[in-house]
């Protein structure tokens, strides 16, 4: 299968690989996928007081397209507000990386990951304000 240059670049030089402290209340963690399906994506965002994503980190177990999709996503969400980040669509990722049809699910997983990370952050904030 021939992959696009952008995809190969993200796969070979993945951006923002790493982990943040899960317990930090300014960090939101999204873990999606399952080993049985061959894809697990972990995306973490660090959000400042203005509600802007200051930093993002990922780790992905999966094929090259899954790794590239999550790497690209971390680049895109940085500097965005939570609302802006939640509007990222899987089709934008698929287009940018020119994912072949059988790999479109990788971009869906990336969209799920950012949504899950935002939800996690928001639920932490609610929990905090209730204290």
């Amino acid at each position: 299968m021939a992959y696009s240059e952008k995809l190969m670049d993200h796969y070979e030089n993945p951006r923002n690989v790493g982990s943040m402290d899960k317990k930090d209340t300014t960090v939101g963690t999204g873990m999606v996928g399952a080993p049985a399906c061959g894809d697990v994506m972990k995306l973490q965002i660090k959000v400042n007081e203005e509600g802007v994503i200051e930093d993002a980190r990922f780790k992905t177990y999966g094929c090259g397209s899954a790794i590239a999709s999550s790497s690209l996503l971390t680049e895109w969400v940085k500097g965005k507000t939570l609302d802006e980040a939640s509007e990222i669509k899987n089709s934008q990722i698929a287009d940018e990386l020119a994912l072949p049809p059988v790999k479109v699910h990788c971009s869906v997983l990336a969209e799920d990951a950012i949504k899950a990370a935002i939800d996690d952050f928001k639920s932490k904030q609610t929990a905090e304000s209730e204290v």
Binding site: G38, K42, C63
Partner: protein, 404 residues
């Protein structure tokens, strides 16, 4: 050393140059291009002679009679001809067939077709080693069992089944025994004169012959009958019609001749390379060898690198040509059915790489491969959330995954 390094000899092999040379001499006006079925002139006679020579070479490697060899287009056709042919011929005796879950698709899909025609098929579960348990096979045999089909060497995990023992069991019950030997001919000793095997499938391109040609061994004593699947001019004693592909047949014959001559020496050399590769890899954390190593063909090494996904590893290993047990090219992301059948969990089944070593592999290539695999697995593990969880002591089975 030339890159990429070819380590996919179980998928196919390059033709030996001696094979290619012989084949080229059977093509053009200056060569032996005749139709071996032409009885009226020297062109036909000469081709017929070449075909019978090739038949002898193939028979010699497996200690069979040349009259027991039927040319086909490859092992897939041989499997189809053997299984459908025997099932159809003996269906009045019974309509039950036994095979194993780790067989090649050419056998499994043929059995599925017979199920659609009203046959009943038992798919045996192999042991964790990949081997078929004789007691379980015996327990599956019934009054109406007409055929057992078990492969000699598995294409993914390289295990060698005990076809001598299985053959004895089948013979004692009067059941026809078919063996797919595509991966074993020229690599494992096959002595058909002393094996209770009725039908055996062969391929040329797995042992340095050309693609598009194979053979089916059809035992004469005691005689086994099969119904033809391809009808026409009555070639191959009516079992497989179609003008004989002389250049292909000559190529297969030459490949089998060379295999007989070099097998012992070549096997020892390949085994040393395989052991060198495993020695180099086994020290890594969380690597698992798939398939019983005692009963294992020399050229195969199937390894699971836990917490790394097979397809991404293959992408990272682009300097070596290997294959992944995990055929995740479709949206369904099915892990290898062979690894699942021997009880490997999803992560391990998704993490497997098959290295297959052959005639032209060098020590230098193996050493390069070891270094490359080590560094790329480490890189991908740094990327893997599963590896991180494992390092943190989290049991992955305890996690609630959101399957998609």
């Amino acid at each position: 050393m030339k890159l990429p390094i070819y380590l996919d000899y179980s998928a196919t092999t390059p033709a030996d140059s001696r094979v290619a040379e012989k084949m080229a001499a059977c093509m053009t006006i200056d060569g032996d291009f005749g139709n071996p079925a032409s009885r009226s002139h020297v062109f036909g006679w000469k081709s017929d002679e070449l075909v019978s020579e090739a038949r002898q070479h193939v028979a010699a490697l497996i200690n069979a009679d040349p009259k027991e060899i039927v040319w086909t287009s490859g092992a897939t056709e041989s499997d189809n001809l053997a299984i459908k042919g025997a099932a159809h011929f003996y269906q009045r005796k019974g309509k039950h067939i036994i095979t194993c879950k780790t067989e090649h698709k050419a056998v499994l899909d043929t059995c599925r077709q017979l199920e659609r025609e009203g046959f009943e098929v038992t798919y045996l579960e192999p042991e964790e080693s990949g081997l078929v348990d004789l007691a379980k096979l015996e327990a599956a045999m019934r009054e109406d069992t007409v055929l057992v089909s078990i492969m000699h060497v598995n294409n993914e995990i390289g295990v060698i089944q005990d076809i001598a023992a299985i053959g004895k069991l089948c013979r004692s019950r009067g059941i026809i025994f078919h063996v797919d030997a595509a991966q074993s001919a020229g690599k494992v000793e096959i002595d058909l004169a002393n094996l209770d095997v009725d039908l055996m499938s062969f391929s040329a391109h797995k042992i340095y012959g050309p693609k598009g040609i194979g053979a089916l061994y059809v035992q004469r004593k005691p005689r086994v009958r099969i119904e033809a699947q391809m009808h026409g001019g009555g070639h191959e004693r009516g079992m497989r019609s179609g003008t004989l592909a002389v250049h292909q047949i000559v190529g297969m014959g030459e490949a089998f001749r060379i295999a007989k001559e070099d097998m012992a020496e070549e096997n020892a050399r390949i085994l040393a390379l395989r052991n060198r590769l495993w020695e180099g890899l086994k020290g890594m954390e969380e690597v698992y060898l798939n398939g019983d190593i005692e009963h294992h063909v020399a050229g195969n090494l199937n390894v699971s690198f836990n917490f790394v996904e097979g397809e991404s590893l293959i992408m990272a290993l682009k300097d070596i040509a290997v294959s992944s047990g995990s055929a995740c090219t479709s949206a369904s992301l099915e892990p290898s059915y062979v690894l699942r059948a021997i009880g490997r969990n999803d992560e391990l089944a998704h993490s497997s790489i098959r290295f297959s070593i052959g005639r032209f592999t060098t020590e230098e290539e193996i050493d390069y491969t070891i270094q490359l695999v080590k560094s790329k697995v480490a890189k991908l593990r740094d990327l893997s959330p599963l590896w991180e969880m494992y390092q943190d002591g989290i049991d992955l089975n305890s996690v609630q995954w959101a399957a998609h």
